[in-house]
C-alpha cells in the first residue's frame, strides 16, 4: 500500500476514533505513564492534537472567494485554476453564501444554463470560529457531511479562513512528523547495543579532555555527552540529569584546575560519570558539599557560577555521588545515574 495514503488513512481513522471517544477517557489515558505500543502512542497523540490545536492552526488563510454575481460558468474556471472544491460567496465584505463542486455538478445535470452563483449557492452558511478547538471542526464536518467551513473571527465576524478535512489532515501530519522524528531516536534504545554484543559484561566508554580556564569551550564535553546519551535512546529526563551533573562538574574543573577529564561509562542499567582533575584539591570536602559554600573568585561569579551550588546540584541529579580529593594533587568525582528509573534514588539534603 502507498505509505502516504496509508498514513493519511491512519491519521483520519485516529481523528474519527477520538471524535467518538469521550473527552474524559481521553484525558485519563493521556496521564498513564510508562511505555506504550507505538500505534497506541500515535493515536493518543492525534487525539491530543485535535484538542490542543485550534481551528486557526489548521485553516487555510488564503481564501478564494466569489461574488453572488459571478456566473456559474466562471465558477468552473475558478475551481479548476485554484484546485479547490468550493468557495465562500462574499458581498460587500459580508459572507452571504457558499458554493461547492456539488452545486456545480447539480447545475451541469440540470442543463448548465448560465446563471449567477447566487441562484445556486447555499445561503444559510454554517461557519466556525478561529478559537474553537480542532475537534469541533472534525465533529462538525462529520455530522453535517459538508466538505468545508468558512472560518470567521469571533469579534469582527469577518471571514479569515476556510477549513476542510484536507487542511486538518495536513496540519496533523505536519505535527506528527515532528513527533515521529523524536520518537525514532527513542526507539533506538541503548539496550539494543547491549543486546547485540555477546559478552559477560558490556559497557560503552567515552572520554573528553578538559583544559583549565578554557571558557570558550566550557560545556562542550557535557554537550557531547548529552547528544550521545540522546542518540543511545536514553530517557530524556535521565539525559537531562546526566547533562546537568556533568556540566556542573565540567565548570568546576575549568574554573579551578589546570586540566582534567570526564570519563563516561554507559552500562545496560546505569551511567557512570567520572570527573578527575589535577587541580588544587578540596581541603574540606564536607564543607564544600554545603549549599552556598564557595571559594570562587569574583570573575567566576560573573560567569553565573561559583555560588556554592554546583556540588549540591550534582548530588540532586545523581543516584550516587562520591567526592574524594587530595589537596595539592587533584579531585575525583564519581557520579552514578540509574537508567531504569527516571527519578533520583537519593535526595539532596
Amino acid at each position: 500500500m502507498n505509505p502516504v495514503a496509508d498514513c493519511i488513512g491512519k491519521v483520519y481513522l485516529a481523528v474519527m476514533k477520538s471524535n467518538n471517544s469521550k473527552k474524559d477517557s481521553f484525558t485519563a489515558r493521556r496521564e498513564v505513564p510508562g511505555h506504550r505500543k507505538t500505534d497506541d502512542l500515535k493515536f493518543t497523540r492525534v487525539q491530543e492534537l485535535v484538542y490542543e490545536l485550534k481551528v486557526s492552526d489548521a485553516m487555510m488563510q488564503k481564501v478564494i472567494t466569489t461574488s453572488p454575481e459571478t456566473s456559474m460558468s466562471e465558477l468552473r474556471e475558478i475551481l479548476r485554476a485554484n484546485r479547490i472544491s468550493g468557495t465562500p460567496v462574499i458581498e460587500n465584505g459580508r459572507l452571504v453564501g457558499i458554493v461547492s463542486i456539488e452545486d456545480f455538478i447539480k447545475w451541469l445535470a440540470e442543463g448548465a444554463h448560465d446563471c449567477p452563483i447566487k441562484d445556486k449557492m447555499t445561503k444559510n452558511v454554517k461557519t466556525m470560529y478561529t478559537d474553537e478547538p480542532l475537534i469541533h471542526a472534525v465533529s462538525k464536518l462529520e455530522q453535517t457531511g459538508f466538505g468545508r467551513f468558512p472560518v470567521v473571527d469571533r469579534q469582527s465576524k469577518r471571514l479569515v479562513g476556510i477549513i476542510t478535512k484536507g487542511h486538518i489532515i495536513e496540519r496533523l501530519l505536519q505535527k506528527l512528523e515532528i513527533d515521529y522524528h523524536e520518537e525514532e531516536i527513542h526507539r533506538y534504545r541503548a539496550s539494543h547495543i547491549f543486546e547485540d554484543i555477546i559478552a559477560d559484561k558490556v559497557a560503552l566508554t567515552f572520554r573528553s579532555y578538559l583544559k583549565g580556564r578554557d571558557f570558550d569551550r566550557a560545556g562542550e564535553a557535557s554537550s557531547g555527552l548529552k547528544k550521545t546519551l540522546e542518540r543511545l535512546g536514553i530517557h530524556p529526563q535521565i539525559v537531562r540529569r546526566a547533562a546537568i551533573a556533568s556540566y556542573e562538574a565540567e565548570m568546576n574543573v575549568i574554573i579551578y584546575a589546570e586540566s582534567g577529564e570526564i570519563s563516561v561509562e554507559v552500562q545496560p542499567g546505569e551511567i557512570h560519570i567520572d570527573v578527575t582533575d589535577s587541580g588544587p584539591g578540596i581541603p574540606d570536602v564536607q564543607k564544600a558539599m554545603q549549599p552556598g559554600y564557595s571559594t570562587a573568585a569574583d570573575w567566576v561569579r560573573e560567569l553565573g557560577f561559583g555560588a556554592g551550588m554546583g556540588l549540591v546540584n550534582i548530588q540532586k541529579c545523581a543516584d550516587d555521588m562520591e567526592l574524594t580529593s587530595n589537596p595539592g594533587k587533584g579531585t575525583h568525582l564519581k557520579i552514578r545515574i540509574d537508567i531504569r528509573t527516571t527519578q533520583p534514588q537519593t535526595k539532596a539534603g
Partner: protein
C-alpha cells in the same frame, strides 16, 4: 503563551536567527545564577537573565530551556548568539528590568517554574 506573545509583552527583539514565533512557553524563571537555574528550572521554560555570555546558552542546552530573554538592555555577545543558533535556542533582548519583565509576564498569566508540577 507563545514566544511571539512574550516578545510583544516585553517589547523584546529577537537576537540571532532562531525565531520560533509559535514556540509554546509554559513557564518562566528569572536568575543570573546559572547553578540556580540548573537546579530548579524545568524543561521548556523561558529563562530571563542579565548575563549575556555563552554559558547562559550552555546552561539552557543542558537544562532543556525553550528560550532565553536578556533583560535590562543587555545584548548577547556574538559568541552567545552563534552558540544559540547552533543549538537552535531562540534569544530575545528587552530594555526592561528583570523585575518588570518578570512582573509583566506573570501578570499576563505565565507561571513560575515551581508552580508547575
Amino acid at each position: 503563551m507563545t514566544l511571539n506573545e512574550i516578545s510583544k509583552i516585553l517589547q523584546a527583539d529577537f537576537a540571532g536567527d532562531v525565531k520560533d514565533l509559535d514556540k509554546e512557553i509554559k513557564m518562566a524563571c528569572g536568575s543570573d545564577l546559572m547553578s540556580d537555574v540548573l537546579s530548579f528550572i524545568k524543561a521548556d521554560s523561558l529563562l530571563l537573565t542579565g548575563l549575556a555570555n555563552p554559558q547562559v546558552v550552555r546552561t539552557a542546552e543542558m537544562a532543556g530551556i525553550a528560550g532565553i530573554c536578556f533583560v535590562r538592555g543587555k545584548q548577547p555577545q556574538p559568541e552567545t548568539v552563534k552558540l544559540a543558533e547552533e543549538k537552535k535556542i531562540p534569544l530575545l533582548a528587552t530594555e526592561l528590568s528583570m523585575h518588570e519583565s518578570c512582573g509583566r509576564l506573570y501578570r499576563e498569566g505565565l507561571p513560575g517554574c515551581d508552580e508547575i508540577k
